[in-house]
């Protein structure tokens, strides 16, 4: 009898403890803001990024949310269109912080809009995670509450220059959105390394982001008889260049820096017109080169949104997992500074799709910059095929980035 009462008392205590615990536990809402180009020419990057954040949030919520002590946070994603415009980006981020109470801001595909937000984010009680925007100066200003998942354009451009020189080309013609600073930065770094390899850039022809007819520039390039063509720009205009280069009979190897998916290119050019084109970019999502997480991401994204993810979209997907880990490490969602600090001390999250190169074991270096490997991808029979890694020394570049003031 005594034993039964002891067991009964024990059970009662356990039930009481559990109920007390349940009474104290609460499911709370964590607002995560996304500011990205959801309309306009840059939407080819912005929309997949916004969807990637949404997908990651759904996965985190389905796995039980973010547990901090007795509280469980379920993520709500609020996305606003910044049209890649600096004023619009400032407005949408101010709205997310001031009106919607978002402390964590993700997305940011485009450099101009991102630069505008980066200029005031240090004064805000918020953390900014930049995705696809590749302008170097975003992570050279020593902004403590900003990190970026995509490496700067010149980090990749230098590796691309070495690669093209190694192919034996001596005269390369460049055509691209050269008014856009990060494309110009890519080409500058490309040229530096290409010239070291004994080559020369015979011309730099520019097109606007909304241009669709590049035949005048390509006709001029054809007359210069280059060994190879380098195309840098958004997916659509780049696809038009590839298509029109074939139509004009410009029969030289074509290299590019675009980060577009097969689906995006095939809207403009045929697979035959794309055959043999190289894309020299960070080792972004490509089924042949990715691991298990990448394949799962591709499958889930396609099932959820009915379209394939763009290669650069995982920069935003990985942002959310890095944020989750940082919140868990900091043990708070209230203290943005603590979360920002934790972000810079994190290892690469196990769910990350991109192949990051940790610096001192951390995903982000002291500048808040993450690095991936760079890769050479080639269009073969209707798909991007990973051919080889490009030479990229993340530690050296990280030191170089730290040496830049502002």
């Amino acid at each position: 009898m005594k034993r039964r009462s002891t067991i009964g008392a024990g059970l009662a205590a356990a039930v009481l403890a559990a109920s007390t615990s349940l009474a104290g536990a609460a499911e709370k809402d964590l607002v995560v803001g996304v500011s990205d180009a959801l309309t306009g020419p840059a939407a080819v990057y912005g929309v997949p990024q916004a969807r990637a954040v949404e997908l990651a949030a759904e996965e985190v919520n389905a796995a039980g949310g973010i547990r901090l002590g007795e509280d469980t946070y379920k993520i709500t994603v609020l996305s606003y269109d910044d049209k890649a415009n600096p004023t619009e980006a400032s407005n949408s981020v101010r709205k997310l912080i001031d009106r919607d109470g978002a402390r964590f801001l993700l997305g940011f595909c485009c450099s101009g809009a991102t630069g505008a937000v980066a200029s005031f984010i240090q004064n805000e009680d918020a953390v900014m995670l930049v995705g696809n925007a590749a302008e170097r100066s975003i992570t050279t200003r020593g902004i403590d509450n900003l990190v970026r998942t995509r490496p700067p354009a010149d980090y990749t451009g230098a590796a691309a220059g070495t690669f093209v020189a190694s192919k034996g080309h001596k005269r390369v013609a460049v055509i691209g959105a050269l008014e856009t600073s990060f494309y110009a930065m890519y080409v500058d770094a490309f040229e530096r390394e290409f010239v070291k390899g004994g080559g020369e850039i015979v011309t730099r022809e520019a097109f606007g982001l909304k241009d669709r007819d590049m035949s005048p520039q390509l006709t001029k390039i054809r007359a210069l008889e280059p060994d190879a063509l380098l195309v840098v720009g958004y997916v659509e205009p780049a696809a038009f260049v590839y298509r029109q280069s074939v139509e004009l009979g410009l029969d030289v190897p074509r290299y590019g820096f675009t980060s577009g998916s097969e689906e995006q290119f095939l809207r403009v050019a045929s697979s035959e017109q794309m055959e043999g084109v190289w894309d020299l970019r960070p080792t972004e999502l490509t089924l042949q080169s990715t691991g298990e997480t990448g394949r799962a991401y591709h499958e889930n994204f396609t099932a959820r949104f009915g379209v394939q993810p763009s290669p650069s979209s995982p920069y935003a997907y990985d942002q959310l997992y890095a944020l989750r880990d940082a919140i868990l490490k900091a043990g708070t969602v209230e203290d943005a500074a603590a979360v920002a600090k934790a972000l810079r001390e994190l290892p690469v999250p196990k769910e990350a799709v991109m192949q990051y190169i940790p610096i001192d074991g951390r995903m982000f270096d002291g500048n808040g910059q993450a690095y991936t490997t760079n890769g050479a991808f080639q269009w073969q029979d209707g798909a991007w095929v990973f051919v080889q890694e490009l030479p990229s020394v993340a530690e050296d570049y990280s030191r170089f980035l730290s040496s830049i003031d502002g």
Binding site: L38, P86, K95, R99, G112, G115, F120, E179
Partner: protein
């Protein structure tokens, strides 16, 4: 347009409303939008001077904003000049460019003048984009300082409410100056040019001097607004100063009420707040915004001020019966 006692009371009421506005705003985001709207009041008052009072539609206000913004930013960042000095220099720098652009542009009239100014805006945009050694191109200029000595200064201009009052003072000054101009002999000549430029010439007045004056002053206002924008946002790039923004200035005047002092104030708030309030409509918001603007232009040719004045007139008539 004469400054009557009734008008004076209306202006004072609007000013009083704008002074107390921040105390009714609990979300700082709306203070941010109000700061932008006040900056646009300055741009729109300048636009109104050349478009509303003189009858010449200029599509270069955003370009002039850009000159003022880059002028103040580059003087500050490259030469370490005090912010106050660079802000005050911005309209003067803009005036120089406007003088050079205005002299040939004003030889043509009507649509031709609009097209010439549009081209001038495009030239400014292309120069800002491609003169990368000076302007840093599309990447823009970051870290443009606020007036004062930052957070530790006597006045903290990083605080949005403080900046609101700072811009309110500037917008009030510009509006008062516009009212003074249009109520002077000079203003009457501008209105006469709008109504019959040939007659002004026949009266022995050199219309081109007055037109050039209106064009340069309108550009100075835009340059001043650009400087205030640059120091508020701490970031500028050429994307902010495109023809689309110049069209916003034209629309602010049409929507608010062309050739009135209160019209540009109302129009400026409308072009800033309307697209933001339509965000709920997602990608359709610009379609809805465009539709509102088309309907307003067709059915309210005298703008909101004209509509309000018609409504008041009707009320008075009914009372008189």
């Amino acid at each position: 347009m004469t400054l009557t006692r009734k008008n004076g009371l209306l202006y004072l009421a609007i000013l009083a409303g704008l002074i107390v506005l921040p105390s009714f705003i609990s979300t700082k985001y709306y203070i941010h939008l109000s700061v932008l709207a006040l900056i646009w009041v300055i741009v729109a008052q300048g636009q109104n001077l050349i478009q509303g009072f003189t009858g010449y539609v200029s599509i270069a206000q955003a370009g002039f904003m850009g000159i003022g913004a880059y002028g103040t930013a580059l003087l500050g960042l490259n030469f370490g000049l005090p912010v106050w000095l660079t802000i005050l220099s911005a309209p003067l720098i803009t005036a120089l460019f406007a003088l050079v652009a205005g002299y040939p542009s004003l030889r043509v009239k009507g649509h031709y003048f609009a097209i010439v100014t549009l081209a001038f805006n495009m030239v400014i945009f292309i120069v800002l984009l491609n003169l990368t050694d000076l302007t840093n191109g599309e990447a823009g200029l970051m870290g443009i300082p606020k007036p004062g000595a930052g957070k530790d200064g006597a006045i903290n201009f990083a605080d949005r409410t403080t900046y609101y009052y700072f811009v309110l003072i500037a917008a009030t000054g510009v509006t008062a100056l516009t009212a003074l101009i249009v109520n002077s002999r000079l203003g009457r000549v501008l209105v006469a040019i709008r109504q019959n430029e040939t007659l002004v010439g026949a009266a022995g007045l050199a219309a081109w001097k007055y037109k050039l004056f209106a064009f340069v002053v309108s550009a100075m206002f835009a340059g001043f607004a650009g400087a205030l924008y640059a120091h508020y946002q701490s970031f500028i790039n050429p994307e902010i100063f495109t023809i689309a923004q110049s069209m916003d200035a034209v629309l602010a005047v049409i929507l608010g009420g062309s050739g009135t002092i209160t019209g540009p104030i109302i129009g400026a708030f409308a072009i800033v707040f309307l697209p933001e309030y339509l965000r709920f409509a997602d990608s359709f918001r610009l379609v809805i915004y465009g539709l509102i603007l088309i309907l307003a232009t067709i059915f309210m040719p005298r703008g909101i001020v004209g509509l309000a004045s018609d409504a008041l007139g009707l009320l008075k008539k009914r009372r008189a019966r």
